[in-house]
Subunit: 399 residues, 2 copies
């Protein structure tokens, strides 16, 4: 409950707002920006000049508009000089990407991460190696202005420590700090839970654009979640909010890596599906889930039954979330895309029997639009957060 | 993503902010207000003068401070001229209150609402009658500036329609509109779900002051919930968020009034407890629950067992919410106060076995500080919302 902002605060806010528009919407005319921001064109011109000088945007004549009169210049994101590093630590892969303003992936590296192998130092070394390889290929005046990572574990809001990541063997691991040291760019590395980061990605660049209330469910070996409430990611007291994978849907059910029983991720995770389908556990991840969905499609009764049972638990978990959140959209990401596509009838049926009509009436169920890139795209958005909040401050620190 | 505010918007914002400070914190010195709002004393003086002229606050010399120098005048909420009406429609009672700035209950009326009796027109007539009685006792220049009601049913964000209130027999009932007509004050009546409204009350005037992430669980015959995320009440797409009573904790369990089975309110509600304890269902509500808790305390084994079983389901529901929200506080209100006090060990034990350590480590479990008044106090806060957002606009409309 503070008083109103100063003129300088307003200018910084406006610079960040303009850059955010262009970053998220792509090339936008000055006239459009003036309309969206409620400012006159001369103010937009001055703001754009500052951002252009900082190498964050550039102005261009638009393509033929077909309208009479002088066309309004178009402001575009400029990705030649400034970029962020985005990382994704999944159960079976490591990804690093160099991402420019506007969210364009300029370069990327990926490697398979053997299950049960790779302690934190090896993960950090591999990611930092990728970053160096990618930076070596840039122009000499190119600068990295942010870095962030998605990881399949519980992460606090501020410290980059992975408190609990049973599927990758991390416990109280100071991952952000170690990666920051190894990158040696003088930048902190923001770390986010894969579900949370995927939610940010789908909301800013995926199927959830424009949704203020959405739930993103990310299936890897376990199930992570990211929940957007009134436009903001739900973090809770310390940033651990969104751990929907450990909601108990089946009291006394399958044991979970967290020590409890019947958690959503124990009943719906890859292992439950493989066991129920009688599939070998040699195949893992997306391929394993897809093999069950394919087998069910070909008429394999055991695979069909496995999908139905897992789909029923998934539906119950989603139904609970619908009653609690009255969301506009639930998005199935990671391996849950394949699972949902194979068991949509069960999921919908459970939602219909176990939610209040009012809570579900405008609900949309969707699969992730960004697919396997959701986590790394979301990590890039985390890495851009500081630049978008105060573009010139960030650049002046680097100059 | 709009541009910064105009000077007039800033003034209105500051008037609302100052009034909100005084409304929530009580008498506050000008110096303290200046510090909290980041404004100088002359601006505070001007704002206070406007609010004083409108009859919303008054200034006084403080009591002896013991410090040297000229004391800073104290700004107090003024409740003589302006008030709001707050209503509560519970399963077995109806409450109406006249509430002044500062949240002081100036007058109240209450009646027993026979279960199964009272259709909406009778409820509306009873509440409007109470309002007239109370207004008749005020000074001639006293004005009502807002009205709101809490009700045990699902309510949309904007229209005051009770979509579903099975425990009071309301379905798609235009309660807000009807009550507004019957009051004939030219004011809309904001309607909120009892759990949501109770959460607002506990956060603004109860045990949750200062908490930005809390969950309020309200037990009546069913269980309502109100969830505060990052300082804001969770509404969801259409305002139906927070229906935690219909989270399924026991798939295939007891039938629920909503049509599903094993909902939290079916397993924990008053009926389940009475049946498990073998108590007659003649006693209802708080008295009935208290009778079971008392019997358990006197060593009645069946009552103890009933409390343990119900406490276990309550704990499971809370555990799920803790994983999902990482809240700072969970508050037990309505009859859940008695239930929690009688089964705290089961509740805590379930939370310990079924939540991630990180999600629960700074969790506080508390009982409602406002007790039976939580809903009506919260309704008053809803009714004040418009006045606090723009104090002078509201008063100019009435002038």
């Amino acid at each position: 409950m503070r008083a109103g902002p100063s003129q300088e605060e307003i200018r910084r806010h406006n610079l960040g707002t303009l850059l955010r528009h262009v970053h998220l919407s792509g090339p936008t005319s000055r006239a459009e920006l003036a309309g969206r921001m409620g400012l006159n064109r001369s103010t937009i011109m001055a703001l754009t000049a500052d951002l252009t000088a900082a190498g964050l945007v550039r102005e261009e004549l638009p393509r033929e508009t077909g309208r009479a009169g002088r066309p309004s210049l178009v402001v575009r994101p400029e990705s030649a000089r400034v970029y962020v590093l985005a990382f994704d630590v999944g159960v079976d892969r490591l990804v690093a990407a160099r991402v420019g303003i506007g969210g364009v992936i300029l370069d990327r590296r990926e490697t398979v991460r053997p299950r049960g192998g790779f302690e934190m130092p090896e993960v950090v070394a591999a990611l930092a190696g990728f970053a160096r390889q990618m930076h070596r290929k840039t122009r000499p005046d190119t600068v990295c202005v942010g870095a962030a990572a998605a990881i399949c574990g519980s992460v606090g809001r501020t410290d980059g420590v992975v408190r609990f990541g049973p599927n990758i063997g991390f416990k109280d691991a100071p991952f952000g700090e170690e990666l920051s040291k190894r990158l040696a760019l003088g930048l902190p590395v923001t770390v986010g839970n894969d579900g949370n980061v995927g939610a940010i990605a789908e909301q800013s660049r995926g199927v959830g654009i424009g949704c203020r209330d959405l739930i993103y469910l990310h299936g890897d070996v376990g199930i992570g979640g990211g929940i957007v409430v009134n436009g903001q990611l739900l973090g809770g007291l310390a940033g651990y909010g969104g751990e929907v994978g450990h909601m108990v849907v089946n009291p006394g059910g399958r044991p979970c890596a967290c020590g409890s029983r019947g958690c959503l991720e124990a009943e719906v995770g890859e292992r439950a599906l493989m066991e129920l389908a009688g599939h070998s556990t040699e195949l893992t991840g997306r391929e394993a889930v897809r093999a069950v969905v394919d087998a069910a499609g070909r008429g394999d009764v055991r695979a069909q039954d496995a999908l139905h049972r897992v789909g029923d638990w998934l539906g119950l978990g989603v139904a609970n979330l619908v009653n609690i959140f009255n969301p506009e959209m639930v998005i199935f990401g990671g391996v849950l895309r394949e699972l949902y596509l194979g068991a949509a009838a069960q999921v919908r049926s459970r939602i219909n029997t176990s939610t209040l009509v009012a809570s579900r009436e405008d609900l949309r169920l969707r699969i992730s639009a960004l697919g396997d890139d959701a986590t790394v795209v979301g990590a890039a958005e985390l890495a851009f957060a500081q630049v978008l909040a105060d573009p010139l401050e960030v650049l002046s620190r680097l100059a």
